[in-house]
């Protein structure tokens, strides 16, 4: 991504801690992103409904309305911008829940500038790739048992798994950490009733004649 195109990218930061909010804003502004920050969920939701930023960074642990509630209010599962959750070490289960509720990925506190800059860049790139490819077949069979139970993201992850990608490869392509791919994988297997990866491929293949990923 070239430096000049970044200023077109607006990033929303939602964190109740003023220092974290400001420091994140400083780092991302230095990277030439256009940053808007919010101290609570209310102001953020109002803004997010009127315009879509390129990326959202949301603290999962906030007083009042938690990050999870905000994700539900936003209908994050179908929101156009990638949402990165920041979480403390004690909130990992909450962060995993956030991913199940539509967040793209989570970053654990304390994190450094490189991490957050890289993750934001990858998230935006992956989202743009997704937009370009919209309408193209996702590499999955048009119908297989349980397909309607999966979120759009889970379908993407499933397509990667079924085509034999490792967690790392799938993560790189989708702008998600391998650990989060693992969260999705477990969730997909649960939803589809698969006991292992081979089982998963079998379920996905069951309704079509040709192998996945070779349309």
């Amino acid at each position: 991504m070239s430096e000049t195109s970044k200023s077109d990218h607006e990033i929303f930061i939602v964190d109740d801690d003023p220092a974290v909010r400001d420091a994140l804003s400083v780092v991302l502004t230095l990277e030439n992103y256009h940053v808007t920050s919010f101290a609570d969920g209310g102001g953020f939701l109002a803004a997010a409904r009127t315009r879509t930023p390129s990326c959202i960074i949301l603290d999962v642990h906030m007083p009042g309305r938690s990050g999870l509630d905000i994700l539900k209010d936003l209908n994050a599962q179908h929101y156009a911008a990638p949402i990165l959750i920041i979480s403390g070490q004690g909130d990992i289960p909450m962060a995993v829940d956030a991913v199940k509720n539509g967040a793209l990925d989570f970053i654990e506190k304390p994190f450094d500038a490189d991490t957050v800059v890289t993750r934001v860049r990858e998230a935006i790139e992956a989202t743009e790739r997704r937009r370009t490819n919209a309408g193209a077949p996702d590499g999955l069979a048009a119908s297989f048992p349980g397909r309607e139970l999966l979120t759009p993201r889970e379908r993407e992850v499933l397509a990667q798994i079924a085509s034999g990608a490792s967690n790392k490869e799938a993560g790189r392509l989708l702008g998600i950490s391998p650990r989060t791919i693992e969260v999705h994988r477990a969730r997909i297997m649960e939803k589809l009733g698969a006991k292992n990866a081979a089982d998963l491929v079998r379920i996905v293949l069951s309704q079509q004649g040709s192998p996945i990923g070779n349309p």
Binding site: V20, A23, L30, Q89, G90, K109, P110, D112, A113
Partner: protein, 368 residues
């Protein structure tokens, strides 16, 4: 030989659960009931007419004859229970509780001694001391976990900001004034500063792993016995009038938990409930287990005053000073959440006590 009333008295004595011994004012044994025979291993016939000092003394010395009766004064003083030593036929010295009373008789004064073996009670006391120790250890772990949770959250916030600020400066220098001796020096120092900040982060992380990173300890557990143990632990040292009413659901599915952590949560909730009762002069705590859809609920209700709105707001805050026994509610909730569950509270008030519910997910495999 015996007259009818004497025979009746003897049968009454023999039916008594406690050892009963009658002595004369010289300390010679006149009556020795069945329970005494069992306690001391002597037959009544062996001891009638002999000195009580043979089997009961305030202390037994290392070498000890059966004669003397130097303790005569001791049992002659009416008393409702003092700890003395008994000696069994086989030589075993054991603790007994001795109550004595004097009764006048035609032949002179008689003393009725009631003897109780203290060993079973000592055993219970020892077990209580043991449990108390375990409880204290658990409370220490709880306190440590609570501090760990609070510290890591409170420290990670500024630490994250600090790291970002330091790196923002480094990035700005790299972009705007690269290559000068001064900027190289500044970058070197910033690098060191970042390294030190990261060290703080890793210390916090290690501490957390130490206190709650014991994920491998999770196993499929039957909650019933776990809760029963927790009740026993929580009741140590509590008011004897306290009643814990249990409504355990039959056929509760097993849950995948770290038993120690979940027991800590239950003990913690119970102690809160007991404390709430104590301040309200109530004595009943109800523990209910039930299944709700794909969760198991452990519900603990007290008859205390309920939780006021102000206390409720601070309820799950670490280091909250509002709750006398608030220790560990924050960590209890963290533990519940880390198990994929939750800890909910209905504050009560207006005549009803507080109601805490620990929710734990039923593992998928146990559903079938």
């Amino acid at each position: 030989m015996e007259s009818l009333p004497a025979a009746r008295a003897s049968s009454v004595l023999d039916a008594a659960a406690d050892g009963i011994i009658v002595v004369d004012d010289r300390g010679h044994i006149l009556t020795f009931n069945k329970a005494s025979e069992q306690l001391f291993g002597y037959g009544a016939g062996d001891l009638i007419g002999r000195d009580l000092a043979l089997i009961i003394r305030s202390e037994f010395a290392d070498r000890d004859g059966g004669s003397g009766g130097g303790d005569a004064e001791f049992w002659c003083t009416p008393h409702s229970g003092r700890d003395v030593k008994g000696r069994h036929f086989d030589g075993t010295i054991f603790p007994i509780e001795l109550s004595s009373g004097a009764t006048p008789a035609a032949e002179g004064r008689r003393f009725v001694l009631v003897v109780r073996d203290l060993r079973p009670r000592r055993q219970i006391e020892r077990r209580h001391v043991l449990l108390q120790g375990e409880l204290m250890r658990m409370l220490r772990v709880l306190a440590l976990e609570e501090i760990g949770t609070a510290l890591s959250h409170e420290v990670n916030q500024p630490l994250t900001a600090l790291l970002l600020y330091l790196q923002a400066v480094a990035r700005a220098i790299e972009k705007q004034v690269p290559g000068s001796a001064l900027s190289d020096r500044a970058l070197g120092l910033l690098d060191k500063a970042v390294h030190e900040a990261e060290r703080v982060g890793s210390v916090i992380q290690t501490m957390r792993q130490f206190t709650e990173g014991r994920l491998p300890a999770r196993r499929l557990v039957d909650l019933g016995p776990l809760i029963a143990d927790a009740i026993e632990l929580a009741l140590i040292g509590s008011d004897p009038s306290t009643r814990v009413v249990r409504h355990f659901a039959p056929e509760l599915p097993r849950v995948l938990v770290d038993p120690l952590q979940i027991q800590q949560v239950v003990v913690n909730l119970l102690r809160n409930a007991l404390e709430a009762n104590r301040t309200h002069l109530a004595s009943e705590v109800r523990v209910t287990t039930c299944r709700e859809l794909n969760e198991v609920h452990v519900v603990i209700e007290d008859d205390g005053p309920g939780i006021g709105p102000e206390a409720l707001r601070d309820l799950f805050k670490p280091f909250s000073s509002k709750m006398v026994e608030g220790l560990g509610l924050a960590i209890s909730r963290t533990i519940a959440q880390n198990h994929g569950g939750a800890l909910s509270v209905e504050p009560g008030g207006d005549g009803s006590g507080a109601r805490y519910a620990l929710h734990l997910p039923v593992p998928a495999a146990a559903e079938e």
